[in-house]
């Protein structure tokens, strides 16, 4: 307790000093899950941020950066809300970033709106989050980015006419279904069945769902499940039921081929076709630099995945704001700086922030899993450039508000 008080005192002194000394310090509140089920995700984003600072030491110009980390603990909303409120009220941060879970981003949106603190979202993918406040910008994705692009590509590139969709029954799954379906049918395909496949918490036995899909004899089977054990289960069931031999291609958003979980999926995953804004095998200089530095720092078996890169790019966005405003953060000016921001050096390829929606615009990569050097490797088939969040473009449901 004694240490705590001294720390508090020191922090207060420092804050007072910084305020007096012409505000050269920019304070950023980082709210991520550092414990519990989401700790792995929080760590990935955190490492992405560390990597950005390591590889871009001059990105913040003359500004001194101070990062205050807070544990969001769980997806429940309240703990995150308290953490963000205290970042604003006690730590007096200039900007907020992090945010893995959509529920937490939704719960904290009224705070940043009321306090006028710009919030850069590094993951939370529910499409309509950016509509909640003009203080929110997102560098990650919405489920519509990959889902919609995949629906289109499934007809035009994979040459499918019919599809069955299987999804984990929670918001990202439903979003994925809606996104895929709207693009697939707009391009002339037909979704012949939609199968909810249990929740995100436990891995179900996929056999009955996959048998139902197989019986419908579609050209492609589009699956959204959370990365990790779910995805492994999907791949195993697909192989066990002989669906490939039956001529049904397994496709999905890149969540099911998350790089950190990829190698555990085994050889059954070969041939899986996914659409995503990032994978560690992307062939561009920024990504090669990141992957090499990452492996050097965190070990040869570690790898960045899309969340790590979102942390990396989120910090790039903050660096841009800080530089543009010359270390003096004004909320409205910061949001103006974010709108239309273009970043050519992202490991995911060129990206920008849509000035109208404050959501990310980026490339989507269609890739196929192959074996290369004895490891699973995401081979690029096609690039769809400048993909926007189509949920807001098409004004679907809540995205239209």
């Amino acid at each position: 307790m004694k240490i705590k008080l001294t720390q508090l005192f020191a922090a207060a002194l420092l804050a007072a000093f910084a305020a007096g000394a012409g505000a050269q310090t920019v304070k950023v509140g980082v709210k991520l899950p550092f414990t519990g089920g989401g700790a792995e995700l929080g760590q990935q984003v955190d490492r992405g941020m560390q990597m950005f600072m390591k590889l871009n030491p001059t990105a913040f110009g003359q500004c001194k950066m101070e990062f205050v980390k807070r544990d969001g603990k769980n997806p429940g909303g309240v703990d995150s809300k308290i953490a963000v409120q205290e970042l604003i009220a006690q730590e007096k941060v200039d900007l907020i970033t992090g945010l893995i879970y959509s529920g937490n981003a939704i719960a904290t949106a009224p705070l940043v709106d009321a306090a006028k603190k710009p919030m850069v979202i590094m993951n939370a993918g529910t499409a309509w989050i950016t509509n909640l406040s003009p203080m929110i910008a997102r560098v990650s994705f919405s489920m519509w980015h990959a889902g919609h692009a995949m629906g289109d590509a499934a007809v035009k590139i994979v040459k499918a006419k019919t599809a069955v969709v299987g999804y984990s029954d929670f918001p990202p799954g439903k979003d994925s279904l809606d996104a895929f379906k709207s693009a697939f049918e707009a391009a002339g395909g037909k979704v012949i069945d939609e199968i909810p496949m249990g929740g995100p918490a436990q891995v179900p036995d996929f056999t009955p769902f996959f048998q139902r899909a197989k019986d419908k004899k579609p050209d492609v089977f589009f699956v959204f499940v959370p990365a990790g054990d779910h995805a492994v289960g999907v791949v195993k069931t697909y192989a066990a039921l002989g669906m490939r031999q039956a001529g049904i291609k397994l496709i999905g958003p890149g969540d099911i081929t998350q790089d950190t979980k990829l190698q555990s999926m085994g050889k059954d995953a070969v041939g899986l076709i996914t659409m995503h804004h990032y994978n560690a095998d992307l062939d561009n200089p920024a990504n090669q630099r990141l992957v090499a530095a990452w492996k050097k720092e965190y070990g040869p078996t570690s790898t960045p995945d899309f969340m790590g890169v979102q942390g990396y790019d989120g910090l790039a966005a903050i660096a841009h704001v800080v530089r543009t405003l010359n270390c003096k953060i004004d909320a409205d000016k910061a949001m103006e700086a974010l709108k239309g921001w273009q970043y050519a050096d992202s490991p995911r390829g060129p990206m920008s922030i849509d000035p109208a929606t404050r959501d990310v615009v980026m490339n989507e990569y269609l890739s196929e899993l192959v074996i290369k050097d004895g490891k699973l490797y995401q081979k690029n088939i096609s690039v769809i450039r400048g993909v926007k969040d189509m949920c807001k473009e098409l004004k679907v449901g809540r995205c239209g508000k």
């Binding site: 414990t35 409120q85 205290e86 306090a115």
Partner: protein
């Protein structure tokens, strides 16, 4: 003072019972930047208090108390979003009613059982409610919950404070006080005494002809109603409700807090919730990645050396010093 007189007078308010409330008011002025956290603590105390009524006094072991918290939380959420009924106090009443009815109905069925069976069934009730809330997407917002709820200002004067939670804190403190007085009256009434009797010796209560099951069902429903009020406060304070209000994490968490403070003694809910949440809060602030270690060690120490919770420990200390224990 003779033991008999002590027994006869123990329902009277003691001077020190003012202290927690004075402290609650002091926090409002001393820590204006901590009020969102403080509000959550108050809400959790209320939930723990309602749990104390069934667990500590009636001896009903439950892991599903968040079911009623969630029922109350969703009641005000759904009323505000879909019917425009967003007056806070009547919302509390509606939440108490809905949660109480669910408590009455589920208690009527569940309280035929005891022990582990009862524990499992309370858990199942909560899981059923949680999944219903997940599936009734149109009404509840499903997994993402209902954000951006609007409530009328308190008494028409004090709008809910989005950022600093000033009005929410005072509101929660006042509601907690009212509920506490009710619970306190209840446990010292003859009804409350019969509950303690049931907890201590079920067979004898049957033998003296006490309507055991009816009493249990009634206290279960009352407790559910109070948990519902806590849930309603939660939704109103945060302008937000999601599935986590119904989760096992909340049920189990509040049970741990109550045991930590000391169950069956009214103030255990206060001490436990405050001790646990304050410890967690500041540990998590200082060590965002490692705070759970501190919590774990604390709980192990309490489980080993303070079986009756913090209040039990302080009682034992006071007794050793020759004074009387706090009730």
């Amino acid at each position: 003072m003779t033991a008999a007189r002590q027994l006869a007078e123990r329902h009277r308010f003691k001077w020190w019972e003012v202290l927690p409330w004075a402290a609650g008011i002091a926090v409002f002025f001393a820590f204006p930047n901590y009020l969102p956290f403080g509000t959550q603590v108050l809400i959790t105390i209320l939930l723990a208090l309602s749990l104390d009524l069934v667990l500590g006094y009636a001896g009903i072991v439950t892991l599903g108390h968040a079911a009623f918290f969630g029922a109350g939380a969703y009641t005000v959420g759904i009323l505000a979003q879909h019917t425009g009924w967003n007056e806070p106090f009547s919302g509390l009443a509606a939440a108490a009613l809905v949660a109480g009815v669910i408590g009455l109905a589920s208690g009527y069925v569940l309280l035929r059982t005891q022990g582990l069976t009862l524990l499992m069934l309370t858990l199942c009730t909560m899981a059923l409610l949680e999944e219903s809330a997940n599936m009734a997407h149109y009404y509840t917002g499903g997994f993402d919950g209902m954000p951006g709820l609007k409530f009328q200002p308190l008494l028409g004067l004090f709008p809910f404070d989005v950022l600093y939670f000033r009005s929410q804190y005072v509101y929660a403190l006042a509601v907690l006080l009212v509920c506490f007085v009710l619970v306190r009256m209840l446990v010292y009434s003859s009804f409350g005494q019969s509950l303690t009797g049931i907890r201590e010796n079920l067979l004898r209560m049957h033998a003296v002809g006490a309507p055991v099951r009816a009493r249990l069902v009634i206290v279960y429903a009352i407790s559910a109603a109070i948990a519902g009020v806590a849930g309603a406060l939660f939704t109103q304070a945060n302008a937000y409700v999601n599935l986590a209000t119904l989760g096992l994490e909340r049920s189990a968490g509040v049970l741990i807090m109550l045991i930590l403070g000391g169950y069956g003694r009214l103030y255990g809910a206060f001490v436990g919730a405050i001790a646990y949440m304050v410890l967690e809060h500041f540990l998590a602030k200082a060590y965002p990645t490692a705070w759970q270690l501190g919590i774990g060690i604390t709980l192990i120490v309490v489980a080993l050396y303070a079986r009756n919770g913090i209040l039990g420990l302080s009682d034992a200390l006071l007794r050793r010093l020759g004074g009387g224990g706090a009730q």
